[in-house]
Symmetry: C2
């Protein structure tokens, strides 16, 4: 539990695109400025940037200082932080640290990723163990396919049973102006007939490669109303790791880092999972959404897929997920993803989600997954 409570006082999102005309630095700077404008400020004490792939795709390091310069924030503290595919949430946690510790009174967490420049897959694969997994042919999609296959065998579930994860995400994306697939209609039949990219994973089980940037501004809770009439509070922030390699885990279908970080976050936030109004899960793959629902305790092991099939994950369901499109349909520009999710939770908890509004939304849960859940970062937000 942090000593000084922290609130979100500004949000900024850019449209997710297959290939943005903006450079990576411009994406990051634009999102940061947009979030700062929303908070009504033109300075901040610190900026923390999340980006996973710029070393390879842009040949660029020190991206936080570059984004700060591009945003006109001369002199500001700027650092980058990473946790593979959970990188955006790591940036959020660092900004949270900065405000909670009293080191900053106003901190920007910004995520930016431009995956359209070059080939993302080899760089993504570096999230896995380069000595023991990658030489054996492992990839992120391959590991998720292996998890889905194992799940299907153990629980006697066909891949088609996961279809509503994608259908729900695409349905919700249609009202999100920042979503990559805001103009696309997707039915269960579309999912069933989509290309098997890595069986049993079909194309529609997988989040797309894309470009985007999003940001939030954090301030001490006691000062939040100086910036906004509708602050949303970070009730808890927690990170846990699992055994790094899938084969070292007792049960690969049991995402221990997700369970541990959720338990710690609920304890610190003093809420329980039944208090959660909506869950922005890391649905990079439908099997991952399913396993997270089980790890957090919304379903018993082997039952997560039923929440999709029964549409308990819908906007009026017991545990709405991907309420603005999720990674699947809003898009998954990696370093930016958790910042998009944070913005979406803020939109929901402040009653601004329009047709996608979850009723009586008071507590939002966010989970971000690094690699094959070697690292999981959980945040709990409250109105």
């Amino acid at each position: 539990m942090s000593i000084r409570p922290v609130s979100v006082v500004g949000i900024g999102q850019l449209e997710v695109e297959k290939a943005s005309a903006k450079s990576l630095r411009d994406l990051g700077a634009a999102a940061a400025r947009r979030a700062m404008a929303d908070a009504g400020v033109d300075r901040a004490d610190a900026l923390f940037a999340g980006n996973m792939l710029s070393d390879e795709l842009q040949g660029q390091k020190q991206i936080a200082a570059l984004i700060a310069d591009q945003a006109g924030l001369y002199g500001i503290e700027a650092l980058e932080v990473r946790a593979a595919t959970a990188t955006g949430a790591a940036a959020l946690r660092m900004a949270y640290f900065a405000v909670a510790s009293g080191e900053a009174d106003l901190a920007v967490a910004v995520g930016a990723e431009k995956m359209s420049e070059g080939i993302a897959t080899p760089a993504l694969t570096k999230a896995l163990d380069a000595e023991e997994e990658v030489p054996a042919g492992a990839t992120l999609i391959g590991q998720n396919a292996a998890l889905m296959r194992l799940y299907g065998q153990r629980h006697r579930v066909r891949g088609d049973a996961f279809a509503n994860f994608a259908v729900n995400a695409h349905r919700n994306a249609r009202q999100n102006p920042y979503a990559l697939y805001r103009h696309k209609r997707v039915t269960a039949r579309d999912v069933h007939s989509s290309r098997p990219v890595h069986p049993p994973l079909r194309l529609m089980d997988c989040a797309p490669i894309c470009d985007g940037a999003a940001a939030v501004v954090l301030a001490p809770r006691e000062e939040a109303r100086a910036y906004t009439d509708r602050p949303v509070h970070i009730l808890a922030s927690s990170v846990a790791t699992d055994r790094f390699r899938l084969q070292d885990r007792r049960d690969p279908l049991c995402l221990e880092a997700a369970a541990l970080s959720a338990q710690a976050a609920f304890r610190r936030a003093n809420v329980n999972r039944n208090d959660v109004s909506l869950f922005e899960a890391h649905d990079a793959f439908s099997i991952m959404a399913c396993l997270l629902l089980e790890a957090v305790g919304f379903a018993r092991p082997g039952q997560g897929w039923r929440l999709a099939e029964e549409n308990a994950i819908g906007l009026r369901g017991r545990i709405p997920i991907s309420t603005m499109g999720g990674l699947k349909a809003r898009g998954h520009p990696i370093g930016a993803t958790a910042l998009y999710q944070t913005c979406e939770i803020v939109v929901q908890l402040t009653g601004r989600a329009g047709k996608n509004q979850v009723r009586n939304a008071t507590v939002g849960l966010l989970q971000s997954v690094g690699g094959a859940a070697s690292t999981v970062i959980t945040h709990v937000f409250g109105a």
Copy 2:
């Protein structure tokens, strides 16, 4: 000023080597375990890892979770943090955040770099602007050479005037069992006759490429004596950025980020530069050590080289620097460097530096430079 004061309660260093037999993950895990053993603990709440080059040289991301697993720290929070060549100090700052905010009661900051695998230079160059500097042929060493040339022209100083930066570093390294060049004697003549690698920079103006790892354990100051009889306190931690590109700066010889972060750190620590007993500066290049001495205010602009020439930087001088060998002679395994420096400051402030002991050492200053000082991170330590 952080809300909850933080202390260093354990340190761990491995020998810096040209090419370590250990893998990157083993280097990091060994340093973390060594620091934890020094603090008398076998668990911690969180681990923050500093590494700059593993994406390219080891094909590995998510290095913090990997090091945590390798160190046997199942379940622990683990994140990586970066600021190009200042990366180690960024990891230290994040661990400081974690404890200062109350999110962790025991946090490990570990830095590890294995530069002997592959070619480091192209990856190092990514610290510069990939759009506007690198296409014009800029490299880190090229920018430091340009700064040295400009300095020489403006202040009418020959390159040879910097020789004692290297001589002092090498002299001090001979009593440091972890230093790369602990068996090497270097005279001013050796410096003057060393190969001009990028004129006016000679080989002996530059820190070496090498492998290494170091770590510290942080705890709340009020609990520090539960772990050690001789805690060293982090009096301040501060980060500032400059205009990213050298050509955008009003005066490239004036390292604004170094000046800004030092001023902020001194203010928060409630000390002034005359209180500083020793300065572990970022002497990756002799010109950088010189410019940092000026930016912090130990010398007027154009006079920093005189501190070297007059040996005011020696162990008995007015402002001792590189007291255990510095980046030049202990070595500069990038992500680990600021953690080595932190360990060395702890050794000095606890009176364990043997023949290298700075008398009455009570305040230690640490500065880490990202790129050509686009980011500078300052820490102030007190006994």
